[in-house]
């Protein structure tokens, strides 16, 4: 009986992070609900024990149902029948098992039949589901949309929709259109208020919608006639039962094939406004995207974990030249480097989740009572830090996921290129992670702000101020040196006062900050468990060489050369 949670110590390690006590206390509002709900934890230890047990259930279902179903789901895929999506049999089986175990609506409050889990254990569940089947993780993970309803919709909408999530109803976020992908301000799907029936009607087309035929969908639509930008967009909730929406096609994708990516046509589809008009994109979707990015972070870590395990197993089993291939430096170097990149992205994932947990819990409390000045500052601090860390997480975890699945195939050699082993599917599934919910390039656009406004540097300095044990002093000295060089590099680019040059070097600067931050996180992990010390050392080796590469590119770059790059791209466009 495989269990993806109990065979992975790292999750329990992150679940017991010292900051969790604060998170749980805020989330449970000093354990007041224990009087009202028999499911509520009595105290901190009880809460952690509950999360641990919930994750054990998730790990059980992932190891024994979702994982074993992944191959057939990838092969069968969803079907379009009479403009409706029919899931693969395995997908249906997965949903039934998770519903039966009450694992939909995990982060929703108890009054809407949720489990009231903080982000940390919820995202851990997402990591586990992704390790079992990265494509299915989308269908399950879209329960995030319920969080957006909970945050912004009025009570009536919440009462109507939220208790349905726990019953296994699925969700979708209908944002992109044929001409509005990365640029969501260009959304054209029209929402018009019908005075007669006293409701909003949706008309238009959505494209590339994950799980588009969901029971409940959040739809971004233009409610303000005559507007052209993001300020004319509002968010609506659409109930499939009400009709008016058809699935025109399911895309034939390279990976995550079990997750139906749909083109939708809305024709006078009735819907309800979420929150206020005009805030659809600029407030609600931004928040939705942030949690979706955490979700992709979890998905990336999960897929990468699966690929690493497959590669490790194969490297032990496969013998060439009279010994297991793991004995060769070329192979063990790859495997170790895969593992430490996985660990670094996991540390970054849960660090970001902790920040999100604290500011979201405080923000929720602020709707019940005024926050104290300290609490308000704390909320602002964690929100700002989370805003910087989220794109960093999405960028690194998804790129690492791609690298790790690539290497996993490499370790399998010719066998990995065949469809006989799961790495082939993992490699295809990984590819989307650095594209959707904002490409890596767009994560850089978000993350560069934290470089410019000094938010990363501030957090690095805070980590620098923490005293470490003597064995880690050496790593820390190198990090202090890298930080000084990072500051110089940032200065050398920003003092040119040229937006285009800044954009040109942005990824390099963001990554330099990322390497320092991730190594610090592994140093922090080593403080709690010696096991991570080796990882911190190996990751530092990788970080330093990557850092040097970025730094050297910036240092040796002749501004005049920018014209060469431009010429290159413009010319190829006219060909």
């Amino acid at each position: 009986m495989a269990n993806f949670y109990t065979d992975n110590d790292a999750l329990n390690f992150h679940l017991n992070h010292p900051l969790m006590e604060k998170i749980v206390r805020l989330k449970e509002d000093d354990f007041k609900e224990a009087k009202k709900y028999d499911q509520a934890p009595l105290d901190y230890e009880d809460a952690i024990d509950t999360y641990d047990k919930v994750l054990e259930i998730v790990g059980d279902i992932c190891g024994n149902i979702i994982g074993p179903n992944a191959e057939s789901v990838d092969q069968d895929g969803p079907q379009l029948v009479n403009n409706e999506v029919i899931y693969a049999a395995g997908t249906k089986h997965n949903i039934d098992a998770l519903t039966q175990s009450g694992l939909f609506g995990m982060s929703l409050p108890r009054k809407y039949d949720g489990l009231n889990l903080p982000m940390v254990p919820y995202v851990m569940a997402a990591e586990l589901v992704s390790r079992a089947d990265g494509g299915f993780a989308n269908i399950w993970g879209l329960q995030d949309c319920a969080e957006t309803l909970h945050e912004f919709a009025d009570e009536e909408i919440m009462q109507e929709f939220l208790p349905r999530i726990n019953k296994g109803e699925t969700m979708a976020m209908d944002l992109t259109e044929p001409d509005a992908g990365s640029d969501l301000q260009a959304v054209q799907l029209k929402a018009s208020f019908d005075e007669k029936s006293n409701r909003w009607l949706l008309n238009g087309v959505k494209r590339f919608i994950t799980n588009g035929d969901a029971d409940i969908s959040l739809v971004l639509a233009r409610s303000e006639e005559g507007t052209q930008d993001g300020r004319g967009l509002s968010l609506f909730v659409f109930d499939r039962k009400d009709g008016g929406m058809k699935v025109r096609r399911i895309e034939n994708k390279m990976g995550i094939k079990g997750s139906p990516t749909c083109e939708l046509v809305f024709k006078n589809a009735p819907s309800k406004l979420v929150g206020d008009r005009k805030l659809g994109l600029i407030k609600y979707v931004m928040s939705l995207m942030n949690s979706a990015r955490l979700g992709v972070g979890a998905q990336s870590v999960g897929i990468a974990d699966a690929a690493y395990r497959e590669a490790l197993k194969y490297a032990y089993e496969r013998e060439q030249f009279g010994k297991a291939i793991i004995k060769f430096p070329a192979v063990y170097e790859m495997l170790t480097s895969m593992r430490v990149r996985l660990e670094a992205s996991r540390s970054l994932l849960y660090e970001t989740c902790r920040y999100v947990d604290i500011y979201k819990a405080l923000s929720h409390i602020s709707t019940q009572r005024p926050l104290t000045p300290e609490e308000r500052n704390e909320m602002k601090y964690y929100q700002r830090t989370a805003d910087g860390f989220t794109p960093l997480l999405k960028l690194f975890s998804s790129e690492y996921c791609n690298q790790i699945t690539y290497d996993a195939i490499q370790i399998h050699g010719g066998t990995g290129f065949m469809k006989d082993f799961p790495v082939e599917r993992l490699y295809r599934d990984a590819r989307i992670t650095s594209i959707y919910e904002g490409t890596s390039q767009l994560q850089v656009v978000a993350a560069i702000r934290a470089v410019i406004n000094g938010s990363y540097l501030k957090r690095i300095r805070e980590m620098e101020a923490v005293k470490v044990k003597p064995e880690l002093e050496g790593i820390k000295r190198q990090l202090v040196e890298l930080t000084a060089r990072y500051e110089l590099a940032v200065k050398s680019v920003t003092e040119l006062n040229d937006g285009e040059i800044l954009d040109f070097h942005a990824r390099r600067l963001v990554e330099m900050a990322g390497y320092i931050i991730m190594t610090y996180l592994l140093v922090n992990d080593s403080m709690r468990d010696d096991k991570f010390e080796d990882s911190a050392r190996v990751f530092l080796n990788i970080a330093v060489s990557k850092f040097n590469e970025a730094e050297s590119y910036i240092q040796n770059f002749d501004i005049e050369d920018l014209a060469l790059y431009k010429k290159e791209s413009f010319e190829s466009k006219t060909e």
Partner: protein, 306 residues
């Protein structure tokens, strides 16, 4: 059997509502599936301390069968009976997380040393006290592998039994139709209740635990467990009396102590032989055509295939 007739005013039709009481017999066993060197003691008995205690796998199939009946017949009550030391209460909690209604731990020092005959006697007395319509058990436990307890309990109750059950085809207030998995095929049988059923591992696997039920019942303890508990449960148990798991001892089930423990157990282990598979019993083959052919020739000549 509890039957009530309820009037549905709208359709003005009578519907028969029935509810069944099912006892599931479950055992906590050492996990013998992945054993290490210290799995057996020098005297040839199982070293329980070295192996993790788990829910006997086929008893989980049995629980699933009971839950399936409950899905079909709402209002059905599922009661877990498990016999063992204090820590076996975990089996009851696990079952409740998966959907069982309640459970009793049959525990008493006087049971120590019971063989399958004495165990069956004790369980049959407990079943009488629980008074169910149907008893469902796993075919056998992975520690003893006797497959004797289920059938012996039925004998002592003087009930009919259906062994090797795989699927419930139909069930109503007085009869049950079961598909059995036999060596050379399947057999479908009908039987009047009360009946005892033992379930084969080919039956559907048990559904996973439900998170919300786990949260509700995780603090459920037997009186013995409560004594060892660090946390003070007094107030919590006053508010939530359902958390207390009942223990049944020899007196509760009205058992005759002469039929229990060593005195009630005619089985004596005389000698245990370790069977170690030698290398000579195995063949190493590559995936070459020559080796595959060799294998096929061997299999055909020994009548394994063909």
């Amino acid at each position: 059997m509890y039957i009530c007739r309820s009037l549905l005013t709208k359709s003005n039709q009578y519907y028969l509502f029935m509810s069944l009481k099912i006892v599931v017999l479950a055992k906590q066993v050492p996990d013998t599936r992945n054993v290490g060197k210290d799995a057996m003691k020098a005297d040839g008995t199982v070293n329980r301390g070295a192996l993790p205690a788990i829910f006997n796998p086929e008893d989980l199939n049995a629980l699933e069968m009971a839950l399936t009946i409950k899905d079909k017949v709402p209002g059905t009550e599922i009661i877990i009976l498990t016999m063992g030391p204090s820590r076996a209460a975990e089996i009851i909690r696990e079952s409740i997380y998966r959907g069982a209604d309640r459970g009793y731990l049959i525990t008493d020092r006087k049971f120590a040393g019971s063989d399958t005959l004495a165990t069956s006697y004790a369980i049959s007395m407990a079943v009488k006290k629980a008074n169910p319509d149907i008893v469902i058990a796993g075919r056998q436990a992975i520690d003893g592998d006797t497959a004797q307890v289920g059938p012996q309990v039925a004998e002592k109750l003087n009930w009919p039994q259906i062994t090797y059950a795989e699927e419930v085809i139909s069930v109503n207030s007085s009869t049950i139709v079961i598909k059995r998995r036999l060596e050379r095929g399947v057999e479908t049988v009908e039987c009047k209740t009360p009946v005892l059923i033992t379930v084969h591992s080919s039956a559907p696997e048990c559904r996973a635990r439900n998170a919300s039920r786990m949260m509700t019942y995780k603090h459920a303890r037997t009186a013995t467990e409560l004594q060892e508990e660090v946390r003070d449960y007094t107030e919590l148990y006053n508010q939530r009396p359902y958390l207390e798991l009942e223990e049944w001892n020899v007196e509760t089930i009205n058992a005759d102590t002469n039929c229990l423990g060593l005195s009630g157990s005619p089985t004596k282990v005389k000698k245990i032989d370790n069977v170690v598979l030698q290398q000579k019993d195995s063949m190493v083959l590559t995936d070459s055509d020559k080796d595959v052919e060799l294998l096929m020739v061997n299999l055909i000549s020994s009548h394994v295939v063909g």
